[in-house]
């Protein structure tokens, strides 16, 4: 029995690698083909007479314009400021949302007291908070951060509550029988059991946070990628507009990768299947 098991554990990595390798080549090939097709269609949209796409300047022109934009401070400051706003708003949402969520899940009276407020405020889209946020906060910077915060806050709150109140009762029972104090129960059982839900909340929350920072910068900002995007409309620079859109897409993608890495760091048992 043991020999067989040891054998299984030795041959596992090679098998996994082989599978990844096969998957990667096929995936890579298809990905390159589809992106390449879109690039070609876009470049020759005008002569080919493709609707919608032919209204855009050809890809080569975008690339030419991008050189100008990509070397300007305005563009990189935009990145920096948007990222700073995302980071502050998002981290604040975790720092406040996770403890409140845990408290609400584990303490009945807190839940009953806070839940009505949550249910009244949560359905209001964060974008609808922009006007009052501008009036309320002393600086535009703070109001943008506040909108980002709201975007990430509700989802992390709900996910934390959901995760912490749905811990498998057998884990609690086993822990109780083995002699856990309430303290052990919280730090060693409930908190780690909730981490995967919190990470899921973070991944979704990060997506909403980028939506919110773009919207808030368009309305209330004087800087940032969202503002740059809106400004390109006002000066009628389609190429700049498209580059900003792609930049925001890349930023969003990188952020979710960071959350994913963070997730596999704090919940390593989840990827070990």
């Amino acid at each position: 029995m043991t020999a067989v098991e040891a054998n299984i554990s030795r041959s596992m990595p090679t098998r996994v690698w082989r599978r990844i390798a096969r998957y990667l080549t096929l995936e890579l090939f298809l990905g390159i083909v589809s992106i390449g097709t879109i690039a070609v269609l876009w470049e020759f949209a005008n002569p080919l007479g493709i609707p919608v796409l032919s209204n855009l300047p050809p890809l080569s022109e975008i690339v030419r314009t991008s050189q100008q934009l990509l070397t300007s401070d305005l563009y990189w400051d935009g990145w920096l400021l948007s990222i700073r706003r995302i980071t502050s708003g998002f981290l604040l949402a975790q720092l406040i949302g996770v403890p409140i969520g845990l408290l609400m899940a584990l303490h009945r009276a807190s839940f009953e007291a806070a839940f009505p407020i949550v249910e009244i405020l949560r359905p209001i889209p964060p974008v609808a908070w922009i006007p009052i946020s501008i009036l309320f906060w002393p600086t535009r910077e703070l109001s943008v951060i506040f909108i980002v915060f709201l975007g990430a806050f509700w989802i992390v709150l709900l996910n934390t509550i959901g995760g912490a109140s749905n811990v498998d009762p057998n884990y609690r029972r086993a822990a109780l029988s083995l002699g856990s104090t309430p303290r052990d129960m919280f730090w060693r059982i409930i908190l780690p059991a909730t981490i995967p839900s919190i990470v899921t909340g973070m991944a979704v929350g990060m997506g909403i946070a980028w939506e919110m920072v773009v919207a808030a910068e368009m309305v209330a900002g004087r800087t940032g990628l969202g503002y740059l995007l809106w400004q390109s409309l006002e000066i009628n620079a389609i190429a700049q507009c498209i580059i900003c859109m792609i930049s925001i897409g890349i930023a969003g993608f990188l952020s979710s990768e960071i959350i994913r890495l963070f997730g596999s760091f704090v919940a390593p048992w989840q990827r070990m299947h």
Binding site: M1, N170, Y171, L178, T181, I195, W269
Partner: protein, 286 residues
């Protein structure tokens, strides 16, 4: 030691235990008057039709729930809550997925504040259940049978007075199940660890147990207690002996009766429906 303590009854005793779920006007009796004794160093089996409240009995003995009436005592002391005297091996794995196998086994000693002294014991136990090479793996990297064995090690390191096993081998394939039964037999025959084992499989019950407690269909009561007088050490080859066949047919007869009864009580609903249908037609509706 006071004389009262000396006269304490060893082992776990259930006397007239009943358990009812639900609110005042919607009571569901699950256990109705159960009395039996789990003797020290014995392998006791609870067997009965499915849905008869065996898991509820385990929860009561473990102390996760309190009986509505009656008394459960362990070594003469009333059971008032979960302690490490009575540890449960659940139907589904309850290994903590965020801890390595070794951390899982060490959980009891760590929260009880005897981490250092238990370390070598944990390693030894893991090799006893054949998991010495898997101590740093997470539970979801193990097979079903390995998870069960890791869980067994996690309970045994706490030296429980009684080990409560709630259909622990359900869901394992036939081969693994047989291997696990052999592991458990070897372990029990080597240590005489008191075990209460819940199952619905007659073969498993007779192969493992010293005494069988046959339960009725819900609301549960004890239908009969049968001693299994097969010699130890036991092995799967005993399943072909004549004594085994006798025991099996005896158990089978009682369980068949119970099944018939639960079927009869189940079909009452159908009778109600027929009655209602006839009443409506008598009222003269077209």
């Amino acid at each position: 030691m006071s004389p009262i303590e000396l006269t304490k009854e060893r082992g776990v005793v259930l006397s007239n235990v009943a358990k009812t779920f639900g609110d005042e006007f919607d009571l569901i009796p699950v256990i109705h008057d159960c009395s039996f004794k789990i003797e020290d160093g014995q392998f006791t089996i609870l067997i009965g039709p499915s849905g008869c409240g065996k898991t509820t009995l385990i929860n009561l003995i473990a102390g996760y729930e309190r009986p509505t009436s009656g008394r459960i005592s362990c070594d003469g002391e009333e059971v008032r809550g979960p302690t490490r005297d009575r540890l449960v091996l659940f139907q589904e794995t309850s290994l903590f997925p965020w801890m390595s196998v070794l951390q899982n086994v060490m959980y009891g000693p760590v929260v009880q504040g005897r981490k250092k002294s238990a370390q070598s014991e944990a390693v030894e136990l893991l090799s006893k259940v054949g998991l010495q090479d898997f101590r740093d793996k997470y539970p979801n990297q193990l097979s079903g049978g390995m998870q069960r064995r890791a869980e067994l090690a996690r309970t045994l390191i706490n030296k429980p007075r009684i080990l409560l096993m709630d259909e622990p081998f359900r869901g394992l394939d036939a081969m693994t199940r047989q291997l696990m039964q052999e592991y458990l037999l070897k372990l029990f025959e080597g240590s005489r660890q008191t075990i209460l084992f819940v199952t619905t499989e007659i073969d498993e019950a007779i192969l493992l147990g010293d005494s069988l407690v046959l339960l009725s269909s819900a609301p549960t009561s004890v239908r009969e207690c049968i001693r299994v007088d097969l010699p130890r050490p036991r092995s799967a080859s005993m399943l072909t002996t004549q004594r085994y066949a006798q025991l099996k047919s005896k158990v089978l007869a009682i369980l068949y009766q119970e099944a018939l009864q639960s079927f009869a009580s189940g079909s009452r609903a159908a009778a109600d429906m027929i009655e209602a249908f006839e009443l409506r037609h008598q009222a003269g509706e077209p």
